[in-house]
């Protein structure tokens, strides 16, 4: 799609489907105007979406690269670009450039490993891409556990998919939790970090972690208690970005640019960086 030499000039794409996942999260399916998949990406990578005149923002790609038909973005309403997107209708064109970032090392460090995915709230968006990638290349990976929590049942994104596909997949263990008791919920209640400890995973797994900073902080402590080392834990960062190609200087943390060298970092790499993310 993008001429690689014209990194800042986006391509026009079209929103072909919109799904309301939770009260404030919508998933947008995006194709080129002639109905093709805009680009090939790696799980964990991001792309710049924009509406001229509204703004441009970076979003993680939620769909798995194994999906050959389309790409999807799950977007929570929180700023001006996202608000505009939430008000958009099917058929609306937007501009897209990317994919950006390093993505998860699914073909190297993850290969052959038992995987533990931990996500909170909208943090499942980038992780979903890896989960589905792993499910579609099942033979390459060991056991798969997913711990996912959010404020309430209504705030669980991809609920349909989790119930109908992931839960029905015998090779995947799904553990759901919500913060507070709720009518019609018979699953676990409690915060993600404590649930992870409760579940008590083997420390030979590779963990992928994404969610609000406070959840990450406590989950990391929990994982450490379970015997996980920093080399086994991966997470993805979010910072303000403008260019997506490591030039505008905004997402610079230490010697790294989150848009180019990240957004996926292994915890031991992250520890090397100054605490400014």
């Amino acid at each position: 799609m993008n001429n690689i030499n014209e990194a800042l000039i986006p391509a026009v794409c079209e929103i072909v489907a919109i799904r309301q996942d939770t009260p404030d999260v919508k998933t947008f399916r995006v194709l080129t105007p002639d109905g093709k998949k805009p680009f090939i990406h790696k799980p964990g990578q991001c792309a710049m979406l924009s509406m001229p005149g509204v703004g441009e923002a970076l979003f993680s790609i939620t769909s798995s690269p194994t999906n050959k038909e389309y790409i999807e973005f799950s977007i929570k309403k929180c700023g001006c670009v996202t608000e505009w997107l939430h008000a958009a209708e099917v058929g609306q064109q937007i501009t897209v450039r990317g994919p950006y970032g390093n993505g998860f090392p699914v073909e190297t460090e993850f290969k052959g490993k038992d995987m533990l995915f931990i996500a909170g709230g909208i943090g499942l968006a980038p992780v979903r891409s890896v989960i589905n990638y792993v499910r579609d290349n099942r033979a390459n990976y060991g056991k798969v556990d997913i711990v996912y929590g959010s404020r309430s049942k209504d705030d669980l994104v991809f609920f349909e998919e989790i119930i109908n596909e992931w839960k029905n997949d015998p090779t995947v263990n799904v553990h759901l939790t919500i913060d507070r008791e709720q009518e019609g919920w018979d699953g676990h209640v409690g915060f993600v970090p404590s649930y992870v400890k409760e579940l008590g995973f083997d420390s030979n797994k590779t963990a992928v972690l994404c969610g609000p900073p406070i959840m990450i902080k406590f989950t990391l402590q929990g994982l450490a208690e379970l015997g996980f080392s920093n080399e086994q834990v991966f997470t993805t960062l979010e910072l303000r970005m403008k260019c997506g190609i490591g030039k505008c200087g905004r997402c610079n943390v230490g010697s790294k640019y989150v848009c180019k060298d990240g957004p996926v970092f292994r915890m031991d790499q992250l520890e090397e960086l100054p605490d400014e993310y």
Binding site: N5, A11, P52
Partner: protein, 342 residues
């Protein structure tokens, strides 16, 4: 080496501007100069440092990237760049020439910034040796020799002539087109001036400033230094240092609604501004201390870490003379490097 008598200087400029746009430093108000497009009769200023660095000519303060037209749900992207033409920048000081290398390592690495790359390709740099370096100069700290600057053509200005020495193919090509306003010279005068400059450089007040304690992989060493607190104390958080700096390259991309479309442009931005890193989810650099630290850590540690130890400062000294509160990289280096400024 070619020689052009000073009385022929404007003939030289006229000649260049007949086939390419020419930019020379021109005096604005008392002691200040800035690069302006040459028009017949303009006088080249001898002022050592232009107010803004010539990075403007390659990475302008504001620049249109593209335009959009929208109709209904449809968007059209219009890249309305025109064919670029060659241009010549005359009289770039050694430090500023070096700054292009620093910028190149940002803009010319993959994915290449084509806006910058095109200008670099078409720009020919005629550098100028610094006859009278200022007290605020510290290019030597970063291994830059003001008596022998880099550039496509190196120029020495003596009392009566300009001596031009082509260093690259581009430079040779340009010089060959100037044969009738220049004459061949043995360059002895230029060499003499070079030696003179060297003796002056050694006497500059900041001649002994060393950057050795900074550089690659020193993040941990300096990040939590207590000195940042006091150094950043009175920083106003304005963008003066970043905007006059020849190596600062942060930018913002913004949209402007025109009469019937949207213009996407980029403009310089400054890590000193409070909203630089602000996003809907929060703000990782809450105080001026963090923003102040980011700028200097980037120049002295982060950038060298990514670029084989090359510092993102060329010692031009503009921040020294322009900062409203006179805080600058020299003071930072002295304080963190353990040199007490008395």
């Amino acid at each position: 080496m070619r020689k052009c008598l000073l009385q022929n200087q404007n003939k030289l400029f006229d000649q260049i501007s007949s086939f390419a746009s020419l930019y020379i430093p021109v005096e604005t108000t008392g002691g200040n100069a800035s690069f302006k497009k040459y028009e017949q009769g303009m006088v080249m200023s001898d002022v050592l440092k232009t107010d803004r660095s010539p990075k403007d000519l390659f990475f302008p303060q504001t620049e249109n990237l593209m335009e959009f037209k929208t109709s209904g749900k449809n968007i059209e992207v219009i890249d309305n760049r025109k064919e670029s033409e060659d241009f010549v920048v005359f009289g770039v000081r050694g430090c500023d020439v070096k700054s292009f290398e620093v910028l190149d390592r940002v803009f010319l690495v993959e994915p290449v910034d084509t806006y910058y790359a095109t200008r670099r390709e078409h720009g020919i740099i005629v550098s100028m040796a610094c006859g009278r370096p200022a007290e605020t100069c510290f290019c030597q700290t970063f291994g830059i020799d003001a008596s022998a600057p880099e550039g496509d053509i190196v120029c020495y200005k003596t009392e009566d002539a300009l001596y031009l020495d082509a260093k690259t193919e581009k430079g040779k090509n340009l010089l060959s087109k100037l044969a009738d306003v220049t004459e061949e010279s043995d360059g002895k005068e230029a060499l003499k001036q070079k030696e003179q400059i060297k003796t002056v450089l050694a006497k500059l007040p900041l001649a002994n400033l060393k950057a050795d304690s900074f550089g690659k992989d020193k993040t941990k060493e300096f990040f939590d230094a207590p000195e940042w607190q006091i150094l950043s104390k009175s920083c106003l958080g304005c963008g003066t240092c970043t905007f006059v700096c020849p190596t600062c390259q942060c930018y913002d991309i913004k949209d402007f609604k025109t009469k019937d479309g949207v213009q996407r442009f980029r403009c310089w931005d400054s890590c000193m501004y409070s909203e630089f890193t602000k996003m809907s989810a929060g703000q990782p650099r809450l105080t001026q201390l963090e923003r102040f630290r980011q700028r200097f850590m980037h120049k002295l540690v982060y950038y060298p870490t990514n670029n084989d130890g090359l510092f993102s400062c060329v010692g031009c000294g503009r921040c020294i003379s322009k900062c409203p509160i006179s805080m600058n990289i020299v003071k930072v280096m002295k304080a963190l490097g353990g040199i007490d400024n008395e």
